[in-house]
Symmetry: C2
């Protein structure tokens, strides 16, 4: 095996840059968020504030769960509620100076991790697919 | 680094056994499938036939997309359609004698892979989380 040192590989090299990351805003109604998730095909995306700062993530599950009323499926909730009402705020992130060693710990429990600059703004995301490609290339090139 | 040989580690050791895998049947109405997905919290699960044979996977996206009508969100489709109408049938699988080397190739593009016996029945699933734990343990024990 080669000298594959995760702590020497910066996440910045292979992260998905912010401009390619689908996201929603705190104040968007759920119906808008569901449209974004459905159109992009992603199960969860980051939630940002108006300054581009990371606030949490919102998933299809978060939204679909609000539709399940007591007796039947109710879609009225999608028009009444906002992203900030149902999102997950306590999500681990990594700094833009982080390495694959920092990323792998988060990626055990989360399918992607947001990369932030020192002003808490999202500069990109690092995904499980990306780290698995790195491992596969290491073992099979 | 140690002698981490993916081709020598069988998936059977660390796969999630079939009885712990949430799944749905071909003939279930979408509303039932959505309930299973919402209650278990998973974004996608295997679809089996009455003999336990693997038929494909169904995701929250597959179901939610059917709700988007021309003008508005319509939930009537959830009661009219069945799992087999919207599922994804052409999904790669691996045999129960497979190793992590076989699994990693599928896990680059799919968040989990179904493990089948020679009768095409699902005996378990192997997930990205499981392979990432293997990598982390290899690097950080
Ligand atoms: N449009 C598409 N084309 C091809 N393959 C697709 C795809 N959408 C999803 N996949 C595959 O499904 C995996 C899980 O996607 P999911 O949306 O649950 O979970 C995604 C999603 O929540 C988020 N994500 C990935 N790319 C994103 C982006 N450009 N913008 C926002 N979120 C993104 O990161 C998670 C992990 O992504 P990862 O790539 O590791 O893993 C992805 C990828 O392998
Ligand atoms: N109830 C829960 N508790 C704790 N963490 C949870 C969780 N549900 C999901 N996660 C986390 O989110 C990841 C993506 O889940 P997802 O449902 O999109 O994608 C899942 C799901 O589609 C499927 N899956 C996993 N376990 C399953 C099971 N017991 N039955 C059916 N499908 C399962 O395999 C995919 C990859 O799973 P993986 O474990 O690698 O990755 C999981 C796990 O890290």
């Amino acid at each position: 095996l080669t000298h594959f040192d995760l702590s020497s590989i910066p996440v910045k090299e292979d992260m998905i840059d912010a401009e390619k990351v689908a996201h929603v805003q705190l104040q968007n109604p759920l119906e808008h968020a569901l449209l974004v998730l459905t159109k992009t095909g992603y199960n969860a995306v980051p939630v940002l504030d108006l300054d581009g700062r990371f606030c949490g993530i919102i998933s299809k599950s978060n939204i679909v769960e609000t539709m399940f009323g007591i007796e039947e499926i109710e879609i009225s909730q999608l028009y009444k509620k906002k992203v900030e009402d149902v999102m997950q705020p306590d999500i681990p992130t990594i700094n833009e100076t982080a390495t694959l060693e920092d990323a792998i710990h988060v990626l055990i429990d989360h399918s992607f991790v947001c990369v932030l600059n020192n002003d808490e703004q999202m500069v990109g995301i690092y995904t499980r697919r990306e780290i698995l490609k790195q491992f596969r290339n290491e073992f099979y090139q």
